[in-house]
């Protein structure tokens, strides 16, 4: 039974108090989410015959799954009233507009493509993102912890370092409280909770959320949202590679196994192969 407490039922306190506490003060103006176009996770990757890379012609390309999680998190923060705007950015060839359009259809307000034709190293990507950060002044940057194509796991950290702002990597939970964030991280020893001042860079782990699927009417509506295109060369970031890729090769085929009769035969076989002293 509800008790009348000055016109406020006790059942109303929870949400009221939470709403009042949430973001004690202001909500963020802008969250920037960085997306990378990668070969879809369902595709069996093949190395080009000449060993210069992997086949991408006619192959399904998607938003890097960790980045999709980053965008989902940003959208949820905005939908809770924690941010006014979500901007998605990517760096790559003109085709990347597809992934930005998907991001806009998911719910981002605006998109920026930094157009560049060749593969960039994480430091160059972080350098370009820094230029965007200086242009856009986001309160929070969310990126995937790694891209599933090169698995570098460097860009977010490098961006934070170049920007000279805090970083919270491998987030499995993200709470925003005014000018601070509280991030639960998945580390080898278990869960670690850290707090950081905004602006900051957060990189996402798989368990942060499950991204929404895109609704078809939103795909149509997204066509009207702004998508800005900048030339990578015009931003004044260093793009020269410091590594040289000498070749790509598929992993060796798994050798056929052999059956042994018993444990003695197994030990013998392992000894023959030099695996046992």
């Amino acid at each position: 039974m509800a008790v009348d407490v000055g016109g406020l039922s006790p059942y109303d306190w929870g949400p009221t108090i939470r709403a009042a506490c949430f973001g004690c003060g202001k909500s963020m103006k802008k969250i920037m989410v960085c997306l990378k176009r990668v070969v879809d996770y369902n595709v069996r990757v093949r190395v080009k015959a000449d060993g210069t890379g992997v086949v991408t012609d006619g192959v399904k390309m998607s938003i890097n799954p960790f980045d999709e999680i980053a965008l989902e998190e940003a959208l949820r923060i905005r939908e809770r009233g924690g941010a006014a705007e979500v901007v998605v950015v990517t760096i790559g060839p003109a085709d990347c507009q597809q992934q930005l359009r998907t991001g806009l259809a998911m719910g981002a307000d605006r998109a920026i493509l930094v157009e560049h034709g060749t593969e960039l190293e994480p430091l160059a990507v972080a350098g370009l993102l820094l230029k965007l950060v200086e242009k856009e002044h986001p309160d929070l940057v969310i990126v995937g912890k790694q891209a599933i194509d090169d698995d570098c796991n460097q860009t977010g950290q490098m961006l934070a370092a170049l920007w000279d702002r805090p970083q919270a990597t491998f987030a499995s939970k993200l709470e925003v409280d005014g000018d601070r964030i509280r991030v639960t991280r998945e580390v080898d020893a278990g869960l670690e909770v850290i707090e950081a001042d905004l602006p900051a860079v957060v990189t996402t782990d798989l368990r942060l959320n499950e991204p929404r699927y895109v609704k078809l009417p939103d795909i149509m509506k997204a066509k009207k949202k702004p998508l800005e295109i900048l030339a990578a060369g015009s931003l004044g970031a260093a793009l020269e590679p410091s590594l040289r890729t000498t070749g790509y090769a598929p992993p060796p085929e798994r050798q056929k196994g052999a059956m042994v009769a018993d444990v003695d035969a197994l030990v013998g076989a392992l000894r023959d192969k030099g695996f046992l002293g």
Partner: protein
Amino acid sequence: MTAARNQTSAEDETQILGAIQAWVEREVRPIARQYDHADEYPHHLVTQMQELGLFGATIGAQYGGLGLSASTYARLVTIISEAWMAPTGIFNSHLIMAACVERFGTEEQKQRFLPRFATGELRGGLGLTEPNAGTDLQRIRTTARRDGGGYLIDGTKTWITNGIHGTCFALLTRTDTAADPPHKGMSMFVVEKGPGFTEGKKLEKLGYKAIDSAELVFDGFRVDADRLVGGVEGRGFQHAVGGLELGRINVAARGVGLANAALRDSVRYAQERKTFGKPIAEHQAIQLKLGDMATRCEAARLLVEAAAKKYDAGERCDMEAGMAKLFASEAAVDNSMDAMRIHGGYGYSTEFDVERYFRDAPLMCIGEGTNEIQRIIIARQLIERNPA
């Protein structure tokens, strides 16, 4: 009627099919076997379809739909059918009803119904078939008699997809039982369930499980005259036949999906299963099957694309849609049988999906005009287009 048809750009199509594929992998494929075996209606999928916008897929944008081209729509249907064919029926026959209103309805009817069809607020299907008349639609017995400012409808429909969970149907009736030939006395109505219009029993089926096929019973059911599609009596048969081109492309697209699914499972299984020291994919008898199956998939897909392209161009395509429907549905049946053989005992097992393809595929040969009728239509068109 050759009104301007929907067009979908390549970029939009990529986005749309990508979104559908992602939804299918997450929500449809994982539940297909369970819901099919339990013959349980997937209510939550319907809610998701509503959010996705599927109930407005082919309805024009000016009425709140997505206005997808037949080509894009066919690919979308194929993608879902590759995982589970049955749920496509929930929006397919709904959209045929919508197309009937959009192509033949009065502007007032379009404004009134299409936006609610597009959101899925009002869902339903197409009521043509009766216990005594399927192929021979001119023999239907459901009547709509003038009564004051409206009509009184009496009769029974059967096999109506979405009959239990849908509430609104495009209903073929006879308004003039004396007309000769009978089709001149046939009229289509848009009817919503209410007093005098109830669903009969849910029909039990071999396949196409989880989706409701039901009898619809009309007993002195009163409708206002503004429910008569197009506002003019005697055009119902044309309205029914007018939706068949798109309907056949849809059924063909489902056939492609089923044929592809049977091939995909077989290609995988043939490499995993070993007999006599090697994967069965290395036995020539299996290779011959895989070769035929893959060729059927490719041919069926190309026929569907060709028919859809003609439809999108606003050209007559009854022969092309008939060919696509005939070939793709037979491909689905043949591939599901070949898949069963390739899978050996496991193909007969309810722990694999092949037995579902095998039960679902034959419907494609029956719905939207049986394959016997498709052959007759194709032959008639051949003669008509090639006079001696």
